[in-house]
């Protein structure tokens, strides 16, 4: 049995429902805004099943500050990576929630990476980490995952070109040992893979393992899916193991890692529910809808039960051939942006970008 993927359906649901009921009550008590939202929109009765819990949309964290702790208890603020001009989410962590986030990341990755810290290549620039006061999703991701490695090497220069010479030296130095690679899906593809292809560069990265996340949106436009991604990286760089992960700044603890079968898995302390994209009604396994994410970790802010804007499908539960328990699922991408008409908001010189 592989912790944290060892709780079977009945046990897990019982544990989560009990935890989430408590968490909901806790946030109702400590966040006035959350209390007003829930009470004015139908109220809260103790849930008997996961899909009965009140959920709020991820977007809300872009609209307002939601905390269940006094401001002076905040030790860390996470921000989502909004494109320029967009509102970003602000997620407030206290000591406890920040610590449990770090711990959860270690736990969900351990079955994939093992105990030992590996030499680590980060397929990004060092400058992402410059601003330590506000953690962008990219920075937070790199920082979080860098704990799994040692002797970190940043493969991209400031201008997003690849430091090929440095990379070759690094690989020579660590020849024979397993190497951990980390990067964001789109950046790995665009700045690393496509650049190598353009310059006709092949590398032998030996027994390496790539962890990547951040979404397929931009790659979808180029018709690149997970299979193509894996195949091309294997062919060009000899990367044998590629694991995608799905997660979001707005919910700590929800890091869903791809098993060797290519399925995203829910660990013991987090889960997903799929809802109809129009009615928000829960859907059975096998049907595509909006992903609702659930986690027992968010204690400093009411982000324990969130409706995302991503579409996904639950493939099954407890019976993935990789041996891990829990629901396993795939993510299809984001719902398309809505372009509403109207006579306001012209070609604007105000660059808000969002339909507002």
């Amino acid at each position: 049995m592989m912790y944290p993927y060892d709780l079977a359906k009945q046990e897990k649901e019982k544990f989560l429902v009990q935890q989430l009921n408590e968490l909901t009550s806790r946030h109702l008590e400590h966040s006035l805004e959350y209390q007003a939202m829930i009470e004015k929109s139908g109220g809260f009765v103790q849930a008997q099943a996961l899909n009965e819990l009140p959920f709020i949309p991820v977007q809300l964290f872009k609209m307002m500050d939601l905390l269940s702790i006094p401001r002076e208890a905040v030790v860390k603020v996470l921000t989502s990576s909004g494109t320029t001009g967009q509102q970003v989410s602000k997620i407030y962590l206290d000591k406890e929630t920040a610590a449990s986030q770090t711990r959860a990341l270690v736990e969900v990755m351990k079955p994939v990476l093992g105990e030992k810290r590996l030499p680590m290549i980060i397929l990004d620039t060092k400058s992402v980490l410059k601003d330590r006061t506000s953690f962008s999703a990219r920075g937070a991701g790199i920082l979080g995952f860098s704990n799994f490695g040692r002797k970190h090497f940043y493969a991209l220069n400031e201008d997003m070109t690849v430091d090929w010479d440095g990379l070759r030296r690094y690989l020579d130095e660590h020849r024979g040992s397993r190497i951990l690679l980390f990067g964001f899906t789109f950046m790995v593809w665009k700045y690393f893979y496509q650049e190598a292809k353009k310059q006709n560069i092949h590398l032998d990265m030996g027994e390496s393992i790539l962890i990547h996340g951040g979404g397929w949106k931009k790659l979808q436009d180029e018709a690149v899916d997970a299979d193509i991604f894996k195949r091309e990286l294997k062919e060009r760089f000899g990367i044998q193991h590629v694991h995608n992960y799905y997660g979001m700044v707005e919910q700590v603890g929800s890091i869903f890692v791809e098993c060797e079968q290519g399925h995203l898995h829910t660990p013991n302390y987090a889960d997903v529910v799929i809802r109809d994209a129009i009615t928000f009604e829960p859907l059975p396994n096998g049907e595509q809808g909006l992903i609702q994410v659930i986690s027992v970790l968010p204690k400093s802010y009411p982000g324990h039960c969130l409706l995302t804007e991503d579409l996904g499908t639950i493939l099954g539960e407890d019976d993935c051939s990789c041996g891990w328990k829990g629901k396993y699922f795939t993510v299809a991408g984001r719902i398309p942006k809505a372009e509403l008409r109207g006579c306001s908001d012209t070609f604007t010189f105000d660059r808000k970008g969002e339909n507002g």
Partner: protein
């Protein structure tokens, strides 16, 4: 910088050529024939109900009425067009701005129309039809007096075109209006701006309750058109519903009204989009955090946020797509205290003209420029946001 019309010329030369053409007298026969040709084309565009409505508005009989009224109003006076009118269109060439362009044309002006850089001629059916009609040989006189172009954020370009114009018309959000206003006009020019506005419907609960089922059905259909035609994003789409009457009557009628309305939307098979569903859900919850909010009911076909009192600033937080703010008032007179400068159209059901006049007299703010029966919220009128287009697009010459 792209020229949609005329084609194949250097834009500076185009502006110079345009300015050489003399203006026309209001309701010039050549303009009438152009407008009629356009009307015939638009009426056939059944896929776009709002374009068909524009086509009907431009039809011969209606323009003739307008002309008669104009002649009556300007009897024994000498009225000329102003010259060159520069129109800055909203991002999605919306029918409403076409109305103002056509009225400027009817007034006899030369027109420069700047459409959004986002516009692709082939994707904008309406614009491409207009360009089509401009190309017809018999409309040369109009074609020579029209420029349709697009360019990206370029203050210098806007400044140049503004300096060449005698009237500037700005459609857009408040920020756009502010930005364009910083760019000087020619000293002699005047300007019409159409910033963000907000609109409401006022329903007499007693009247709705006692309406015959046929009348009720009609009310709901009309209310649907008002609110859903432009995804509730037009400035005159009703976003706030004020019910007047006693608490019991209002509560009884609300239940019936909204459940019938739900059916209407389902029958129409209006396309619901996931992103809008999520947006409405988020907006409603965010508003629920406000003290004045009583309740948020999220539904599939529409969502409702009811307020004890409507705070002025929630108007900017409306996302469209079927979200209804609601509040109660004992009588219509009480509604006048809720009105803010931004409020434009009141669509009503169950009130007499006297009551409506009394109501608008009591409004202490700049708000309210239109009061129309439910079903006519989106109908265009030659007077908009309190200004008469034909008057603003012309000038009177005093001859003694």
């Amino acid at each position: 910088m792209r020229l949609f019309w005329p084609k194949l010329l250097e834009w500076r030369d185009v502006v110079v050529d345009l300015q050489k053409k003399e203006t026309l007298m209001p309701f010039h026969p050549q303009v009438l024939s152009f407008v009629q040709a356009l009307s015939m084309r638009l009426i056939r565009m059944r896929a776009y109900p709002e374009v068909v409505a524009l086509g009907y508005w431009l039809r011969k009989a209606h323009i003739h009425e307008m002309k008669e009224a104009w002649l009556e109003e300007t009897k024994n006076r000498f009225v000329k067009s102003r010259g060159t009118v520069f129109h800055l269109a909203p991002s999605n060439v919306d029918t409403i701005f076409i109305y103002s362009w056509m009225l400027s044309l009817l007034a006899g002006n030369r027109n420069i129309i700047r459409v959004s850089g986002k516009e692709q001629l082939q994707t904008n059916a309406l614009l491409s039809v207009i360009i089509d009609v401009l190309q017809e040989a018999e409309h040369t006189m109009i074609a020579e007096r029209t420029i349709v172009l697009t360019y990206d954020h370029d203050e210098q370009m806007t400044a140049f075109l503004s300096s060449e114009s005698h009237t500037r018309v700005v459609w857009g959000g408040d920020d756009t209006v502010k930005t364009i206003r910083r760019i000087p006009l020619a000293p002699i020019a005047n300007e019409l701006v159409f910033p963000d506005r907000f609109s409401l419907a006022v329903l007499n609960a007693e009247a709705v309750l006692h309406a015959k089922s046929e009348e009720k059905e009609q009310l709901l259909q009309r209310f649907y058109n008002d609110s859903f035609w432009f995804d509730q994003m037009a400035c005159s789409s009703p976003r706030l519903i004020v019910w007047t009457g006693s608490n019991e009557v209002i509560e009884a009628v609300q239940i019936e009204f909204w459940s019938l309305f739900d059916q209407v939307i389902r029958e129409k098979e209006a396309e619901l989009m996931s992103a809008i569903q999520v947006q409405k859900f988020a907006t409603g919850l965010a508003l629920a955090a406000e003290v004045e909010t009583k309740e948020f009911k999220h539904g599939t076909t529409f969502s409702r946020v009811s307020f004890e009192r409507v705070p002025a600033n929630v108007r900017e937080r409306h996302c469209g797509g079927g979200l209804f703010f609601e509040c109660k008032a004992t009588e219509l007179a009480e509604v006048s205290t809720m009105i803010v400068d931004k409020d434009q159209t009141v669509s009503y059901f169950g009130f007499s003209k006297e009551e409506l006049v009394a109501f608008v007299e009591q409004v202490p703010t700049r708000g309210i420029d239109r009061i129309v029966p439910v079903g006519q919220a989106l109908d265009f009128d030659g007077v908009w946001d309190g200004q008469s287009f034909l008057k603003s697009f012309t000038r009177e010459v005093v001859i003694l």
